[in-house]
Each structure stands twice: as C-alpha cells, then as structure tokens.
C-alpha cells in the first residue's frame, strides 16, 4: 500500500466514524470549561469594575498588564492570546522545548488529566476503526475505550517517561552540540541556521517517538497483544521494516496539520475589537479545534490502514 492509499483510507475511516469527533470535542470542551470558570471569575474580579475593562474590550492595555500579578490559573494570561497564530505557536514551542510547565502548575496538571482521558478515548477510536463491519455507536465506543484502557494507560505512562528522558537529556545534548559550532561572535544568520537545524532534529525525533507509540497502540488493537511493552517493540520493528512509508505517511499528515493550523491562524489574526468579530473568532476557533481532532484521528486511521495492509501479508507469509 502506498502512502497516498493509506492516507485515502484514513480519510475514509474518519469520515465513516465522524460522530466520534463531536464526542471527543465535547470531552475537550468540558475539561477546558472546568479551567475556564475559575479563570473567568478571577479575571472578572480584577477588571470587571475597573476602567481598564474598556481598553481590554477594545484591545489590550499594556499598563494594566505591567501591574498585573497573575496567580494560579491566570499565570497563563498574556497579550498574545488575542492573536491568531501566536497562541498556537506557543503550544508548538512547548513541543520543541518540552517545557510543559511553562504556564504553571494548573496547566501541567490538567494536561496530565487530558493525557489520561485521551488514552481512554484513543482505545475507543482505534477499537472502532479496526471493526470495519460495524458503524459508530456511543456504547461500542466507550466499550472499546474501557477494554483497551489499561494497555493504553501503560503506553501513555511509558511515553511520558520516554519524553521526560528525551527532554531532560537528549534535547539539551542536541542543542548544546549544535551550539558548540558557534559563539556570540559568529554571524547571527549562521547561529540561527544551526539553531533551526537543531530544533528540526528535535521535532523529527518527537515525531519518531510519537509514531512508535501510535503503532504500539495499533498493534495492541489489531494483534490483540497482552503486553504493552512488546507492542512498543513490535512497533519499532514495523517502522524500521517500512521506514520510508511509515515516516512519509506521518510527515505528510503532520504537514497537513501544520498547513491547517497556519491557515486557521492567519484567518484568526483579524482584529477582535468588536463584539461580532469576537463571536466570529470564537466560532472559527471551535471549528479549528474540531478539525484538529479530526486530524488526530486521521493519524490513527491512516497509520492503521498502512499497518494492516503491510503487516497482514507478512503474517500470511509466516503462516505459510
């Protein structure tokens, strides 16, 4: 199977199970709302009856921000939130730096909660994707989610350890290695170039680790494996056996995700100084989150298709 066919099959799978997207979106929205309520109350308390609210409604007041002493959940408040691309790039930066604690304890904690929740939801997604004969139903989605949860939780936990070690040791080592080629006296263009190369390698490695865990999940569901760690090993073996196609597919979908993010980011960059413009922005933002969830499912669907098509003949051969 070619990368193109896998992608096409992935689109097909996502479209056939499109009802999963609002379900996952609802969980995402609800969890965010849990954080947003104290955020709103705190912010309302600070600016609700001050004249500063007029400036903040029409734009941003730097003098207020200068004196603003953010505590707890408000620590992640910043002027860039109003921009289209900047909040998205802020998150992308975290993937490169691994500094998921940058926006404070509460964001890190809820990020971990979301990790557990998404491990649960991923079981439902992959369970339904592999069961091609039957269509989507909420009960079967949650049944699959529950069935695979212990495996997916173990994989998530292992991924956390791997990423912790990666960001703690490998990423700084890589950056330091590239940094050694330059000093403060070197031309800035050269320093920026090497800096960019170093972070590109970091990104590639993050993708690679992700891909391993994606295939580990697929193997658990497709092969009905009992050992999560064994599935990681099988995932690595599969990737190296079909490196070009596996990596090509992953990078292609990552490019689709990046392009989508860029397009939405640019669209959302318009000024939000009037009520109806804010309303339009909110609708577009939520639409983008839906699309983003869809792309995450596309990763699973396409990789599942690739794995099934490449591994099934291998299994047949082994049996023969």
């Amino acid at each position: 199977m070619t990368v193109k066919n896998a992608l096409s099959k992935g689109f097909d799978l996502v479209s056939r199970h499109i009802k999963m997207i609002p379900l996952i979106y609802a969980v995402n929205f609800t969890l965010t709302l849990l954080l947003a309520i104290p955020f709103f109350i705190n912010l309302y308390d600070k600016i609700g009856n001050r004249v500063i609210r007029d400036d903040m409604l029409n734009g941003f007041d730097s003098s207020w921000w200068m004196h603003f002493d953010p505590q707890h959940i408000l620590a992640s408040f910043r002027p860039g939130l109003l921009n289209g691309i900047i909040p998205l790039f802020d998150n992308f930066e975290m993937v490169l730096t691994g500094d998921f604690n940058f926006y404070g304890f509460w964001m890190l904690l809820f990020g971990l909660v979301w990790l557990v929740l998404s491990s649960f939801l991923n079981g439902g997604v992959l369970g339904l994707f592999t069961d091609e004969k039957r269509s989507f139903s909420v009960s079967r989605f949650f049944s699959n989610a529950g069935f695979y949860f212990h495996h997916f939780f173990a994989l998530m936990f292992t991924a956390l350890i791997v990423f912790f070690l990666f960001y703690k040791f490998v990423q700084p080592l890589l950056l330091t290695l590239f940094d050694q080629f330059t000093t403060d006296w070197s031309p800035e263009t050269l320093r920026l170039l090497l800096h960019s190369i170093a972070f590109s390698i970091v990104l590639f490695l993050v993708y690679f680790i992700n891909m391993i865990f994606d295939y580990a999940k697929i193997i658990i569901v497709v092969e009905k494996k009992d050992s999560s760690w064994m599935s990681i090993w099988l995932g690595i073996k599969f990737i190296f056996a079909h490196f070009g196609r596996a990596m090509g597919l992953y990078l292609l979908i990552a490019a689709i995700a990046a392009l989508t993010t860029l397009i939405f980011g640019l669209i959302l960059s318009f000024s939000k100084d009037q009520f109806f413009l804010v309303l339009i922005a909110v609708i577009l933002q939520q639409l983008f989150i839906v699309v983003k969830i869809g792309i995450r499912l596309l990763f699973y669907g396409s990789q599942l298709s690739l794995y099934s098509s490449l591994h099934a003949p291998e299994r047949k051969m082994k049996r023969l």
């Binding site: 709103f40 001050r50 200068m66 002493d69 900047i86 998150n91 809820f110 990020g111 998404s118 989150i289």
Partner: protein, 650 residues
C-alpha cells in the same frame, strides 16, 4: 501618536531659535598624561601616569589619595564584588583567582622625589572600603590652595576576566578605572559614604595607548592620531575635559563612522565600534544615535565634543555598561516581563549614558537620579517622540542567547509602562533573600527618579519643564550639579506647588510611595420620608424623588502627598471634575444629582507615574462581564489547542 507629534513640534518650536554657542571650556583642575601598553596575552596594561595635581580646596593639603578601583575586584570577598552583583552572578563572572583584577602601583614620584615607600593603604573603621582599593601619600610639605604638584606613577593593571565584558578568549579587552586616580581628602571621605560609586572628576587628558597593530580601539576621549610603530598601533587621545579614559579594544571589532549635522548644532562624528557578527544592526544603531544627538541637542544641550563613540558587543559581554563614563556600550538584551528589550531602547539608553556623562557629573551618594534617572527619563521621552510605542516582543526557542524574537504589533507598549512595572517590585527581595546595593540603587534612584521627572513634567507641563531642564543642563555643563539647583530653577521659574519641590526628597531619600484608589461608590434614590399636612390631616409619605444620593470613597495609601484630579462620570454622561489635595488617607465625597454615578477616575490623564497601582485609580459602580468573557474565550481556545497538542504526544 498625535500627542507625541504635538510634543515634538512644540519642543522643536521652543528650541528652534536657540543659538548653539560653543560649549564652555572645562574648568578641570588636573592634567593627566597616560602612556599605556596592552599586553593581550596576559590581559594586563603596563602604564605610566603623570598628573599635574591642583589643590582646589580652600585649605592646604597634607595628604593626597589614590583610588585603585580595580582592587575592589581582587578577590570574591571584596566589598564591590559582593555588593555590586549577587553571589550567583559573581560565580558566572569569576572562575578563580586568575580572573580577578587589580592595580599594582610600582613606583610613585612626587615633584621628582621617589616616594614609593611612603605609599600607604587606606582603611576605615566602618569597613566601608575594600582594603587595597585606596592608598594615600603624606606630602613632605603641605600643598597650598590653588597650587599644583607633579606626581608620576608606574603601574601594572590586571584586567578582570568576565567583569566589564572582558573576554580574553575572543581577545576582547575592556578597560575602565584601570589607572590610579588622584583625589583629595574630601573625595576620599565622600567615597567612604558611597563606596560603590564610580564617580570621577573631569580632567584634561593626554593619552597614548598602544595595542597590537591589528586591534581596533574605541575610547571615551577624543582621538587625535594613530600610527603603527614597531609593529604596534599607537593611538593618541587629547581631551580637555574628560571624566574617565575608558577603552574597548579587540582584533575582532570593526569601526563605522557617520557624520551628524543638524541645523546649527556643532558637527559630531558618530563612531560605532562593532563585532562583525552584529554588522546588520549598524544602520539602525547609527540612526538611533543620530536621533539621540538631534533630540537631546534640541531638548537639553548640543553634544559638545567632536566624536561620539559607542560600542556594540555580543550578548555575553558588557555586564555593567554604566561603569564606562563617556563610552556607550550596547550589550546584552534582557528578557523582561513585557517581552524582549529591543535593540533601539538599549542603544538610546547606553548612548544616553555616554551623552550625559560627557556633559555633567555628580558627586557620590543619592545622586543616581541625575545620570541614571535623567537618562532613563530622556530615553523614554526620545523613544516616544521618535519611535512611538514599540511592539511587545516575545522570545521563542531561546537557547544560549540564540532565539526568535517575534514582534507583536497588536500590542504596543508605552516605554513608561516598563518603568512603572518596576515600581511594583521596589521592595522585592533578590534570589539570595536580600536587595543588593545595585538592585536597590537601580529601583530607588534610577526608576523612581525617572518616573518622578515624568510626573513633574506632566504636572508642570511639557514646555515649562523642558525649558527648566534645558537651562539646568546648560548651566551645569562640565560641572558637578545638584538636585537642589534643578528644583530651585523649576520653582523660581514657575508657580510650583511647594509640595512638589519636596517630592525628590520624599520619594528618593525617604523612600516614599504613592498609591491612589477609588475604593467605593454608593448611589441610591433619595426618599422623601415624613408627615405632610394635607388640608387638616397629617399624612405619612415615603416617596422616591428625582434626585440620587451619591457617595464616593477615595483612598491614598502612600506616604507622598500630591494634588490629584478626580473625574466623576454620571449615568447620564455628565462629568464632574474635582481636585483632591491628596492630603488625607481617606476622602469621602457626598452629593445629590439627577442620576447615579457611573464611574470615578483618579488621575484620568495618568499624570502621576509614581503611582504604585494605576488600575485601582478607577471604579465603575456596576460590574460588566464582557471584557473578561472575551479574554476567557480566547484563552479557552488556547487551552483546547494545548490539550490537543498534549494528546498528540500521548
């Protein structure tokens, strides 16, 4: 922007008829000849100094003092080492004894007599001075007032690695306070009160500085000549009025010059010395320096010398630019609460230090207001006039000083807000649990005094304040100037509230603060209650009238008393303006009106920049959710995406 343009036009109109007379000649007492050779392999300077020293005191002098400033960095226990920078910073500067700096006096000859053995180290009972940082000589016969003597000194200076930006690995040598400086007993006594101060009197300098032939050199003095002799480059400097012979030299530096000429101001050659890697910034830096000379020339005084030297060094260098009188060093950008400090403000800040230190000087403690405070005030003023508000710049993927700086133009930042933000942290402790001298000095003398200048300008008005400041600067050229002179100039020329004259004292010396707050608004419909005679009968009435009872409570939580404007906006759009004398801690206004109060604002035009919290200066009677809701929805989107990013690596 319109206001800024108006300010600019006004100021130009005020000064357009000024005649830029030649600057008065420096009335320096001492004439200094220096011959020094840099030995790059050891990071040291071997020098000879000859001083024609004049007693400018009213009494005969029995003793003269030598300030050996770099001995403040002889080891990590010295007063300056522990006071100027925190222990954490110090650790990154010095890796061991080999990195410390010192001045060794080899020989002293007074009026032809060798007095090396008579040289003694000064100390004081309060241990305010680092041993070795001051030496003294008892003269054979007292030096009468207005008489002079010739003193010759052979010395060797070891430059401290790291400190001042010295980077021996890249052959960058930064020499400041590198030669023995002669002082009177009065200077010594003053220095004891403020041991970390880097003051220096003006003097006439004649300097020959020798470096390897491939080196580029920048200095605070006016260069007159250069020639290669015996494979070495001999620079010659002659400056009739200089505070300090500061030098930056390296084979890795280049020079670019631009001629500055504006109206009938004296022409100035702007000399930018830069590291190759930073060449791309040259155009912006030179433009900023042109702006500086133009605006400061219009506002205060034309730059009096023919050369204006500025050095642009890589990020890891230039720790203490303020320590280089007359030589602007643009060094590291700091990451601030409100994003990355961009290049232009840094150029104007450090170029401004160069400007001020070439023009006026000061003496000892409690005077950071004039050089640093005035510099910071004029920097923000110039930024607003020439550049407007600069965009908030966020730094991404920062690693080892390589980063992507993203300018967010939708968030323009008033440079004064950066200063006001510092006020919030005025009493915060450092990581080590104490406020270092440097931090305390910076916050108290520099930030507060800059904001005080702004506050006074806002209260007095642009034009009168600018004229007073211009007269003060022009009267003080090449002289020690005092705060009292400026206040006196301001109060004599203008009908100034006498309380404003004491502001500097209350805020800078006594550490006073100011914080106004609208704490409560209360409005209710007026009731008409009582018994009314209706014919022969009395009847009880409890009726609502068409008047509203309003009560406003204002607070002043600081210790500095300032008159302040109060604007009350009613629900029908009508506004009332009062002036509150700010004397009492709490002030309650009660009045009846056709409608209820909608909002109250203290200091609505943001005149008082020393207010610790400007946000609580206003209050609406009723809360409104829309602003918080808008920002919460934007924040929610970011969090939702954050979750999706996290999920993608699960």
């Amino acid at each position: 922007m319109f206001k800024n343009a108006l300010l600019l036009v006004t100021v130009i109109l005020i000064f357009s008829n000024s005649v830029y007379a030649a600057p008065p000649f420096c009335s320096s007492n001492n004439e200094i000849f220096l011959k020094a050779t840099l030995e790059p392999q050891d990071g040291r300077i071997v020098g000879y100094e000859r001083v024609l020293y004049k007693n400018d005191d009213a009494l005969p002098q029995n003793r003269i003092y030598l300030r050996l400033f770099l001995n403040q960095f002889r080891n990590s226990e010295t007063l300056l080492s522990t006071g100027l920078v925190t222990a954490k910073q110090l650790g990154s500067l010095f890796s061991g004894p080999a990195d410390w700096g010192r001045i060794e006096v080899k020989k002293v000859v007074v009026q032809g007599t060798d007095m090396t053995n008579a040289l003694q180290m000064a100390s004081d009972q309060n241990k305010n001075l680092t041993p070795g940082a001051w030496a003294f000589l008892d003269l054979v016969s007292p030096l009468p007032p207005d008489q002079d003597i010739t003193i010759e000194i052979d010395f060797v200076t070891q430059l401290p690695a790291g400190l001042f930006g010295n980077d021996f690995e890249h052959q960058l040598f930064v020499a400041a306070f590198w030669y023995p400086q002669l002082c009177s007993a009065a200077d010594f006594q003053n220095q004891k009160q403020s041991p970390l101060s880097t003051w220096q009197n003006y003097a006439g300098y004649d300097v020959e500085f020798v470096v390897p032939k491939d080196y580029t050199l920048a200095a605070s003095a006016i260069q007159t000549d250069s020639a290669i002799v015996d494979d070495q480059l001999h620079y010659r400097f002659k400056d009739p009025c200089l505070r300090e012979m500061a030098v930056v030299t390296s084979p890795n530096l280049r020079a670019e010059e631009r001629e500055f000429q504006y109206e009938d101001m004296p022409p100035v050659t702007i000399r930018l010395i830069y590291a190759d890697a930073l060449q791309k910034d040259n155009s912006a830096i030179l433009k900023a320096l042109e702006n500086l000379l133009k605006y400061y020339g219009l506002w205060y005084a034309p730059y009096p010398k023919s050369t204006f030297s500025v050095v642009h060094l890589p990020h890891s260098t230039a720790l203490a630019p303020a320590a280089f009188p007359g030589l602007g060093i643009i060094g590291s950008a700091s990451q601030e609460r409100f994003g990355q400090e961009s290049l232009i403000p840094r150029v104007i800040l450090h170029g401004g230090l160069n400007y001020w230190q070439q023009l006026i000087t000061l003496h000892f403690a409690n005077t950071g207001w004039i050089e640093e405070g005035l510099n910071l005030y004029s920097q923000t003023r110039l930024l607003i006039a020439a550049y407007g508000y600069l965009p908030y710049t966020k730094t991404y993927l920062d690693f080892q000083n390589v980063a992507i700086n993203w300018k967010q133009h939708s968030v323009p930042v008033d440079p004064r807000d950066r200063l006001m933000a510092e006020l919030d942290h005025i009493d915060e402790l450092s990581d080590e649990g104490k406020i270092t001298f440097y931090e305390e000095n910076k916050r108290r003398d520099i930030i507060k005094s800059a904001l005080l200048f702004w506050t006074l300008e806002n209260i007095v008005g642009d034009q009168p304040f600018s004229i007073a400041l211009r007269d003060f600067v022009r009267n003080s050229l090449y002289n020690r100037c005092a705060l009292e002179e400026f206040i006196s100039l301001l109060t004599n020329q203008h009908d100034l509230d006498p309380r404003l004259a004491s502001l500097f004292d209350e805020i800078l010396i006594q550490g006073g603060t100011s914080d106004f707050k609208v704490s409560h608004i209360f409005s209710r419909d007026l009731q008409e209650q009582g018994f009314w005679k209706n014919g022969k009968e009395w009847e009880y009435r409890n009726e609502t009238t068409d008047q509203v009872y309003n009560r406003i409570t204002l607070e002043h939580m600081g210790s500095v008393h300032l008159p302040v404007d109060v604007v009350v906006t009613m629900e029908n759009g009508e506004t009332m303006e009062w002036i509150w004398d700010g004397y009492h801690k709490v002030k309650i206004f009660e009045f009846e009106h056709a409608t209820a109060v909608r909002k109250v604002e203290i200091d609505p035009n943001h005149k008082i920049l020393i207010d610790l919290d400007r946000v609580n200066n206003s209050l609406y009677r009723k809360k409104n959710i829309w602003s918080a809701l808008k920002w919460t929805s934007m924040w929610m989107f970011w969090v939702q995406h954050y979750f999706e990013v996290v999920a993608s690596i699960s």
